[in-house]
Subunit: 154 residues, 4 copies
């Protein structure tokens, strides 16, 4: 699906770093992006801990939101001004204190709205620590809409 | 993971058919169940249509709820009286008028709560028409808790 | 807010009854509708029971979906073909076996999407048995958008 | 409902400030708490802005999570170690750049789980900018369970 990719991982990374200072400050990095899936890494920091000593829920929610935004940019390019409409997160288990990875992919990308799934993982482990679904409103100008497998839809 | 399976697909099917008359009336059937994943088939019927002629949202929500219940039964056996706490569904695309399949799996099964993911598909198609996550409260008696990969957790 | 009301409760009721046979079959009725809020009543029936003898989750999900649809019709009129995008339900307590009421109101009604809240109550009781939020996609033609208090927004 | 209150607003505020450094750093403050409802204020800061110049989604999600935690503390006291299981947020409108208020209340407080609703508002405005529901797991020791109106339940 060569037409899916609008920005590379490096381009998405630089775009977010330039527009969201906190992204760079906390050392987040877009590691992979191909227009259909992205991976964002968030380095471990003690400032992310909640009472009790494990990584906080808001840390994971912010990472998931960033990964969804990176996926949208990767697919639609820098001109797209998409906004989150809804986010639903299930916390599955207490994460080990280590880097977090957020893997985002489209469940649907229509002309007016996208539905995205994000798995939050601890680097080096297989079981996700949180599962997220979110919907994005897509600005009203012509963009190619795709299914999760990359097929263009009406 | 031999200890995971508490009821076979046939046993789960018969148990639900005996306890939820509508399940049998509409021809639903548990096709696969192994304690970690289940598949439930719902035959197409014109009575499921919403205005506009496509399969209704409540039809898909009911099917997802049934699949979650079947998964719980498959894993915990017939004595478990689990109840849904939360269900979140994203409708992804208009389903073709055909049999629906619901594939459910554990995102987490703890001692007191389970988180389950369900994909609703149209028979013969790859892209899901709806994505569901739900949480179940587990009755308070000892059960083996597992991770999605089948490992037992504390 | 005289411009809010596009269909009366009776008109919404008749429209749904004509387009969703099951609505009439199970005796549902739109009792109130003013373009900003609606109330839908669902008579108690033993066919709604889940194993254990209380009203099933799918029964409440279907009622909530109907109430959201009734609210959209009440505000936008019969030409609107809105579709549910997302529904999130929290089950709060086991309902007594009696008529259920669904009270729906707009959290937001924009030009392209509506966010609706529904409380499911047992007739005669104050505490809701379920809380629902849902989003609807609005068809692309000019409609007046309102805030929950009835003010028109851009 | 005199028995509902376990910690005052000041006590909850001091407890969170002591255990979550960021809470104090960004100037958050628990303004009201009575065991059934709480209000948390988050002062406006440019560091909260997303690309485009409005307050970011993660800022609102973190505030909602804090308000839920404050409500739990207010009701259960400082010994309670509750954890978020699920959070669902609908973004309703772009907030004006000003202080945010989060008003949280119980939809249900059972022995093992709480369901909480949070409205995020801009100080001085009536319409919420975001609506949140969340579930909390309650640690396993005896606590008085209440309904939203303050009645004790089994």
């Amino acid at each position: 699906m060569t037409t899916a990719l609008q920005m590379t991982a490096t381009q998405v990374n630089d775009f977010i770093a330039a527009s969201i200072p906190a992204f760079k400050d906390i050392g987040c990095r877009v590691e992979d992006a191909d227009g259909l899936q992205v991976r964002v890494r968030q380095p471990y920091s003690e400032s992310q801990l909640r009472p009790g000593g494990s990584i906080s829920g808001p840390t994971m929610m912010a990472l998931a939101d960033t990964a969804m935004y990176a996926l949208i940019l990767s697919r639609l390019g820098p001109v797209a001004l998409a906004v989150t409409q809804n986010l639903n997160i299930n916390f599955l288990r207490k994460p080990r204190n280590a880097d977090l990875l957020a893997d985002a992919r489209f469940l649907r990308l229509g002309k007016r709205a996208a539905v995205i799934e994000v798995l939050i993982l601890v680097d080096g482990e297989d079981e996700p620590v949180a599962h997220v679904t979110g919907t994005y409103a897509i600005p009203e100008h012509a963009i190619p809409a795709i299914t999760p497998s990359g097929a263009t839809v009406a």
